[in-house]
């Protein structure tokens, strides 16, 4: 290449790049970061529907940034440490707040909550408001809820164990189901999101553990737990081998790789929306100790370093408005935190989900598990302990009792080090320790 040509190209490139950057945005813009809405379709929806509506109404533009948990927490903590920030509003899982509060990120949201209460148009579920108290302050305003269910392709229903009720499925049913599919088709069609970005760990500690042992932590190495791990080994025989790659189950469902999948409601919704007629939604299975499920709460808080707290409060008002909450459940399958929105009847694929969630919550043997709290900076170690246990027992085939004993020691160390309380359905013992 001749030098002058090269220079011209470089100059042109610089022009192309810098000129648009020089243009300025609207008068008011706030930055909203979240660990939620990270799937592409959810981000798109949030930007195109949710925040556009807000901008139309208020003239405030929302710069929405969805992040991985790691960088997300780093940034919030770093801004707090420096005492200067760019984030006006942030929304994340309940379990993150025990880190954010002591790190000085979250401000007390009680005044905001009180303002919302004064409006009288929305009633937050009281238990959600109760658990939003973290470290002596109201750490967040409850924003959305989510849970996990099973989606099955209709063609899989032919193999469902005769005489059992799919809406009241047990873990034995699930195994039998998988076996039936396997013996009929020669393929394994039950899938879990056990890939790096998947939520399989939630299934282990929040679903199957309490369902078999009635506990998440305390009965970690109990005989019931040993029984549960034996069950999981058998279940492994009918699991789709690709499960360790899956992050979001809507994709293998749509592809047909998997016929029966367990995942977060938001991560199943795209399949239901694309082909609502192909799928059915079922509640999570029940074990000997009931039908345990996790309720995930997402809260909103304004960082202490927020440049524009006032506009952020207006966005909170907008997001927790019953109409917006209905819009949210319909759009991305996150469920309301205010009573006024809970009554709205969803449509389409979302309707299937809502029915299953209702069935799950309303089941006679329902047992709510909550995400662990109080683990502070070491919160991130909790879930991997369960996934690692699964890997050692089911993948590497190590002896169950030995692995459980070793992992229980780590679990105990974690809880003792952070002096944390047992998560429900375990009794509130501090520090929690496996028996």
């Amino acid at each position: 290449m001749r030098a002058p040509t090269l220079m011209a190209v470089v100059l042109a490139a610089i022009l192309v790049v810098t000129v648009p950057a020089a243009q300025t945005g609207p008068a008011v813009e706030i930055t909203f970061t979240s660990t939620q809405f990270s799937p592409v379709h959810e981000t798109e929806w949030a930007r195109d529907t949710l925040f556009r509506a807000f901008e139309t109404e208020t003239g405030i533009r929302v710069r929405f940034v969805s992040e991985l948990a790691g960088p997300y927490m780093d940034r919030l903590q770093a801004e707090a440490r420096v005492g200067r920030g760019s984030i006006d509003l942030t929304g994340t899982l309940h379990g993150d707040f025990p880190i954010l509060v002591p790190a000085g990120v979250a401000r007390d949201m009680a005044p905001v909550q009180a303002d919302l209460a004064r409006r009288g148009d929305r009633t937050f579920f009281p238990d959600l408001v109760r658990i939003s108290q973290v470290g002596g302050i109201q750490a967040y305003v409850p924003w959305m809820q989510a849970t996990y269910v099973i989606v099955a392709h209709k063609r899989a229903m032919a193999y469902f164990p005769r005489g059992s009720n799919p809406m009241a499925m047990t873990y034995d049913d699930l195994l039998e189901w998988g076996d039936a599919i396997k013996s009929a088709t020669g393929t394994r069609r039950i899938g879990f999101p056990a890939g790096p970005g998947g939520l399989f760990g939630r299934f282990l500690h929040g679903y199957i553990y309490p369902s078999f042992t009635g506990s998440q932590v305390k009965r970690f190495k109990s005989p019931e737990a040993v029984e549960m791990w034996r069950y999981l080994r058998r279940l492994g025989g009918v699991l789709h081998p690709g499960s360790f790659l899956y992050s979001f189950m809507h994709e293998p469902l749509l592809l047909g790789e998997v016929w029966v999948a367990w995942d977060h409601t938001a991560r199943l919704l795209p399949a239901l929306r694309d082909r609502p007629d192909d799928f059915v939604v079922l509640p999570s299975p029940a074990g000997p100790r009931g039908r345990s499920f996790l309720s995930v709460i997402v809260g909103l808080t304004i960082p202490k370093t927020a440049p524009n707290a006032e506009a952020a409060a207006r966005l909170i008002e907008f997001l927790t408005r019953p109409r917006t909450q209905v819009l949210t459940v319909q759009g991305v399958a996150f469920f309301p935190t205010v009573r006024e929105a809970a009554g709205a009847v969803p449509t389409g694929g979302m309707k299937l989900l809502a029915e299953a969630v209702t069935a799950q919550q309303g089941a006679r043997d329902a047992r709510v598990a909550l995400l662990p709290v109080g683990l502070g900076v070491r919160t991130g170690e909790f879930v991997p302990l369960y996934v690692d246990t699964f890997r050692e027992i089911s993948v590497l085939g190590k002896p169950i009792e030995e692995v459980l004993a070793a992992q229980a020691r780590k679990l105990e160390e974690l809880y003792r080090a952070m002096n944390a309380v047992c998560p429900p359905p375990d009794p509130a013992i501090t520090p929690c320790r496996p028996d």
Partner: protein, 271 residues
């Protein structure tokens, strides 16, 4: 006879290797031009009938893709400017002078290649916030420069070794100062080689994922956007394939531009 057989054998090997390199690129291109429905069906057709832009348009219309592409370009240009501005003087010094510490510097520069971006990005994230470089494209460019600098130094060294010292000396005897001699003689001759270095730097920056993902908030580069969407955010297959295709197109163009320098890209550096 034996010669003809040998030629035929060589041609076969070359063809096989070329096919091995091109075939996967062809496949991802086919995937990028297949519709979502085609990608999700089984059995799947290899050739999309008809080819469709839907998948690529879906990707390009996705929020942030254009901005991220623009950011990637800005970061890459910053990186090129920094890496060449900082690396070229060092390369010039290494090519022109024998001085105590020269070998030490060379080894030190190469040793920096041993340390992954992971190690740099983590502590720098904290430091950047203090320094006001966080979520700043310049901040990303700086880390990319740190990663690209060894290559910039090595390539510019070989470039300047290729420009005889005597040319500059001749210019100096003709009345130039040292700086004038460099600017009027060495630099114009070295320019194509420096362009190759710049393009190499561009490739590094364009492809870098980890640091970009850690160090930005709004101002994501394309790979940072993609890794988030692909590895963790459950981007659908069509989005992934379109993204993969979109990332390799510049790669092919760039290698095409510098194909003349491929023979000498590493050139004299190992002498």
């Amino acid at each position: 006879m034996a010669r003809a057989a040998r030629t035929a054998l060589l041609a076969t090997i070359a063809t096989l290797i070329a096919a091995w390199v091109l075939f996967p690129i062809l496949l991802i291109s086919l995937a990028a031009f297949s519709s979502r429905a085609q990608l999700y069906s089984w059995p799947r057709a290899i050739f999309p009938t008809p080819p469709t832009m839907d998948t690529i348009l879906f990707f390009l219309r996705a929020q942030g893709v254009w901005q991220a592409t623009l950011n990637s370009l800005i970061v890459a240009l910053f990186t090129i400017a920094l890496a060449v501005a900082i690396g070229a003087p060092a390369g010039y010094a290494l090519s022109r002078f024998r001085f105590p510490g020269r070998e030490g510097f060379r080894l030190g520069i190469l040793a920096t290649k041993m340390f992954p971006a992971t190690v740099l990005a983590i502590p720098l994230a904290v430091a950047y916030i203090r320094w006001g470089l966080y979520d700043n494209l310049l901040g990303v460019a700086i880390v990319h420069t740190a990663l690209a600098l060894p290559f910039a130094v090595v390539i510019t060294t070989s470039v300047f070794i290729g420009v005889p010292m005597e040319l500059e000396e001749a210019a100096m005897t003709l009345g130039c100062t040292r700086l004038q001699a460099f600017l009027r003689v060495a630099l114009p001759i070295a320019l194509p080689g420096l362009a190759a270095a710049a393009i190499f730097t561009f490739v590094l920056s364009w492809n870098e994922v980890f640091a970009a993902a850690i160090l930005t908030l709004h101002n994501r580069t394309l790979p940072a956007l993609l890794i988030n969407a692909v590895a963790f955010a459950g981007a659908p297959l069509d989005y992934r394939f379109a993204g993969g295709f979109f990332m390799i197109v510049p790669a092919m163009i760039i290698i095409f531009i510098i194909r003349r320098y491929l023979m000498t890209l590493w050139g004299v550096t190992i002498r």
